[in-house]
């Protein structure tokens, strides 16, 4: 297959049994419902960005995401969020996640929350600006009710206060 026609296999890295278990809930058909849409009506060089990852990153000065409760209630995932200043580096953070190897993020935060790369993009004028605050929550959310109804409205308000217009999302 040529590079140009690559089709990403989202399960390439997954053991076959785990692949079978996770994909049983994914329909074969294309999504046919309505999808919310905010067009970007300007160039990225005029756009203020923020970043959000579900990698469970917290500042060392903030509480960790709650992994202990999940160990006793395996269907529960911490629905809270943490603010990560745009100036943060791997030296400033903790990473809480029971579903991935967190060692790489602790070595280089940019593998999942690319703060340094976006600071470079801002300096070079590729983007207008990286907003002062970026965000992390915790990606294991079997029931996303609290995340969507309680946490994300607060995040959206913070994003709006800082005039963010576009968001790069990096799931884990």
């Amino acid at each position: 297959m040529s590079e140009a026609s690559k089709v990403v296999d989202g399960f390439l890295f997954m053991p076959p049994a785990l692949r079978a278990w996770i994909s049983k809930d994914i329909p074969d058909e294309t999504f046919s419902g309505k999808i919310p849409w905010t067009p970007l009506d300007k160039s990225i060089s005029e756009t203020t960005f923020t970043l959000m990852t579900s990698a469970g990153i917290s500042m060392k000065s903030d509480p960790l995401f709650d992994m202990e409760r999940e160990k006793t209630e395996p269907a529960w995932g911490d629905p809270s969020y943490r603010e990560i200043p745009k100036t943060a580096t791997e030296r400033d953070i903790e990473v809480s996640h029971l579903h991935i190897n967190t060692a790489y993020i602790k070595q280089d935060i940019n593998v999942v929350l690319p703060l340094a790369r976006f600071r470079e993009f801002e300096k070079e004028g590729l983007i207008e600006k990286l907003a002062p605050t970026c965000y992390s929550y915790y990606g294991f959310q079997l029931d996303p009710t609290a995340l969507l109804n309680e946490t994300m409205p607060q995040v959206a308000d913070r994003m709006r206060q800082e005039s963010a217009e576009a968001v790069l999302l990096t799931p884990t």
């Binding site: 590079e3 690559k6 990403v8 989202g10 399960f11 390439l12 890295f13 053991p15 076959p16 049994a17 692949r19 079978a20 278990w21 994909s23 049983k24 994914i26 329909p27 074969d28 294309t30 999504f31 419902g33 999808i35 919310p36 849409w37 905010t38 970007l40 160039s43 990225i44 756009t47 579900s54 999940e70 395996p74 269907a75 029971l98 579903h99 991935i100 190897n101 967190t102 790489y104 993020i105 280089d108 940019n110 593998v111 999942v112 790369r117 590729l126 983007i127 294991f140 079997l142 995340l147 969507l148 959206a156 994003m159 709006r160 576009a166 968001v167 790069l168 999302l169 990096t170 799931p171």
Partner: protein, 116 residues
């Protein structure tokens, strides 16, 4: 993360989701998808690979500019430099939900092997 992308688009933000698992789009309906065949937890690239990370991010940003309607998936052309089995992305301990469902997971794995 697809649900979060949908929430933010509803609130007036343009999003691009740089995901290792574009298949979830079929379940959730994600507004703009940049699909990357990299291991879970490292969608932007390898540790300290500044140039490689920049290439992936530049491609993700171009998805933001080029997507003209909701639900388009852009498959990024990058290939992870290690064998998938050597990517070592899994946690050191089996996650609680996997541990809880281990019997079913093993059964589905056995069925999948039979089908091949």
């Amino acid at each position: 993360m697809g649900q979060v992308a949908r929430f933010l688009e509803e609130k007036g933000f343009s999003t691009v989701t740089l995901t290792n698992t574009p298949e979830f789009h079929r379940q959730v309906g994600i507004p703009r998808v940049a699909a990357i065949e990299y291991p879970y937890g490292r969608p932007v690239g390898q540790v300290h690979d500044q140039d490689g990370q920049r290439e992936v991010l530049t491609a993700a940003l171009s998805v933001l500019e080029n997507a003209k309607e909701p639900g388009q998936i852009f498959h990024l052309p990058f290939t992870w430099p290690e064998e998938p089995k050597k990517a070592d992305w899994q946690p050191s301990e089996i996650s609680p939900i996997v541990k809880l469902n281990l019997d079913e997971i093993k059964r589905l794995g056995a069925e999948a092997r039979k089908k091949r």
